[in-house]
Subunit: 281 residues, 2 copies
C-alpha cells in the first residue's frame, strides 16, 4: 500500500487519514476538496501530504467522503478514470441508489460500497479525530461484486484501523440506518426547533436545560450540507421510520390526555428493554 487519494476532506475523510497515518506512515496521501479552505486546512493539519485534483494512476485506494448527493457523479467519474489496480471506496450514509447507479458500470468490480458507523455533530477537517473510527463498525454492501484482490486492499486498511466489518444488502442497510441513525437526527433537530420556537416567548428557557436535554438535542448541531441530501436519498425508508415515530408520539400523547398513568408506566417499562440491548452492544 503506497498511495491513497481522498475526495472530501471533512470529518470522516480526515479522521480516516489521521488514523491510518499513525499505523501506516509509509502511505502517501493525496486529496481534494472543492472547498479551498478545507483543502488548505487538510494540508496544514497533515491529513493530506499533497493536494491533487485527480488521483494518480498508481493510487491504491480512492476514498470518496463527500455528501450523499454528490457521490453518484464523483463515483462514476472516479471509476472512469481509475487505474486498473485502483480501488474506489465510498463512505456514504445511503447505499441503495448509489450501488444501483453503477450496477452496469464496466469497472463495477473496482468499487467497494462502504459506510463507517462513526461521526460527531461537527464537520470539516478541523473536526477530524484520529480515534474516531477506532473499533467502530464498517458496513460493506454488495461485497461479492468487488474484485477479490482490490477488496484485499480495503480489508488491509480497515483492519489496521481496528474496524469491525459487517456485510449487508444495500436496501437492508438503508432501511436499518433510517431507524437507528437518520431518525435520531430528525428527532434531535425537531426537539431543537421546538425549544428554539419556545425561546421566542421565553428567553430563559435554555437556562433550565440539563444533561438530558443536551444529550437528546446534540445531533441538532449536525451539518445541513450532509443531512439534507441523506433525507432525500433515503426518502422512502426515512418516511417509514418517521411516520412510525410520529404515530408512537401521538398514541403516547393520547395516553397523557386520557390520564392513563398506568398505561404510560407500562409502556415506558417495556421500552426500558433498550437498557439491555444497548449495553450488549
Amino acid at each position: 500500500m503506497k498511495k491513497i487519494h481522498i475526495i472530501g476532506l471533512g470529518l470522516l475523510g480526515g479522521s480516516f487519514s489521521l488514523a491510518l497515518k499513525k499505523v501506516k506512515p509509509e502511505i502517501h496521501f493525496t486529496g481534494y476538496d472543492k472547498d479551498a479552505k478545507n483543502l488548505q486546512d487538510a494540508f496544514t493539519l497533515g491529513i493530506i501530504d499533497e493536494a491533487k485534483d485527480k488521483a494518480d494512476p498508481d493510487t491504491d485506494i480512492v476514498i470518496l467522503a463527500t455528501p450523499a448527493d454528490s457521490l453518484e457523479g464523483i463515483l462514476k467519474e472516479s471509476l472512469d478514470q481509475a487505474g486498473q489496480d485502483t480501488l474506489i471506496m465510498d463512505f456514504g450514509s445511503t447505499k441503495a441508489k448509489l450501488c444501483q447507479s453503477v450496477a452496469n458500470h464496466p469497472k463495477r468490480s473496482q468499487y467497494l460500497a462502504g459506510h463507517p458507523i462513526a461521526g460527531t455533530e461537527y464537520s470539516g477537517p478541523k473536526a477530524a479525530q484520529e480515534d474516531l473510527l477506532d473499533k467502530k463498525v464498517f458496513i460493506i454492501c454488495e461485497m461479492e461484486k468487488t474484485d477479490l484482490h482490490l477488496k484485499g486492499k480495503a480489508y488491509e486498511v480497515l483492519e489496521a484501523l481496528n474496524m469491525k466489518l459487517r456485510f449487508m444488502d444495500p436496501e437492508e442497510h438503508d432501511n436499518q440506518l433510517a431507524f437507528v441513525s437518520h431518525l435520531s437526527h430528525i428527532s434531535s433537530f425537531m426537539l431543537g426547533k421546538t425549544v428554539l420556537d419556545k425561546m421566542e416567548d421565553d428567553k430563559n428557557v435554555f437556562d433550565m436545560a440539563g444533561s438530558g436535554f443536551a444529550s437528546t438535542v446534540r445531533l441538532a448541531k449536525s451539518s445541513p450540507a450532509m443531512w439534507a441530501p441523506i433525507l432525500s436519498e433515503n426518502k422512502k425508508n426515512i418516511l417509514e421510520a418517521l411516520s412510525m415515530y410520529i404515530s408512537n408520539l401521538s398514541k403516547f400523547r393520547d395516553k397523557i390526555i386520557a390520564d392513563d398513568v398506568e398505561g404510560l408506566y407500562l409502556e415506558m417499562e417495556k421500552i426500558n428493554a433498550i437498557r439491555d440491548i444497548l449495553d450488549l452492544k
Copy 2:
C-alpha cells in the same frame, strides 16, 4: 447544621447525602425509603447513618426525594410533624400543583420548593454519585414564602455543594421544564419504542446503531416510576410541548415528501443556532 433526614433514598437523595458528607462530615443523616431493599442499600452505601421512619424533632432539614405523585401527601405529613426549627425541602420535577397544595398550610413558611437540575438515566441508591449535583442549577420556587432563617439552612447546604441557585415562579418552572426536560424524555422513549417495534421484523437493527442513536435514546432507560407521575402532574405543559413537537415533525415530514431539499437545508441550518446557545451555557 447537625441533622438531615431524607425521605426517598434514590439517585437524587443518595447523591445529595454522599456529596454533603464529604464537605460537612459532622452532619448526622437519618432517612427512610418505603422500599426495604433501597433502605438497606442506602445504609450499606453510607448514604444514611441511621434508618428512621420519622425525622427527629430537632432535625435541621427534611429532604423529600420521592416520585412526583407521592410528594403532596408526604409534604403535608412532614409539615404537620415538623419541629419548629425544621425546614422541609423537596427535590420534585414539577412545582405548581405541589406549591398550590400547601398554599394555606399553617406551616407553609417551613417549606422550600426546590428542584435540582441533575440526574442520569439510572435510579435507586446504587446509582447515587457524590459529584452528581456539583455545579448544577438548583431552582427554588416561591422563595418569598419561606421563613428567612430556615431558608438560610437550605442555602448553607446548597452552596456547600456548589449548586447555582435560580429563583422562579412555579408555573413558569413547570412550563419551561416541559420543554427542556420532560419533552426530551418522551422523544427518547418513543425513539426507543420505534426501533424496538422495528426489531420485531429485523433482529439485527441495533447492530448498526452508533453513538448518535445512543445519545438520543439514552433517556429511554429512565425509571417509569419517576416519569409516569411527572407526565401526569405536568400534563398541561407537557401537552403543549409535545403537540408543538409533533407538529414540527409533521411539517418536516411534509418537506421530505415534497422533495424540498432546500427547505430542509434551510430549516436545519436555522436550528444549528442551538450550537451557540448550548455552548454558552
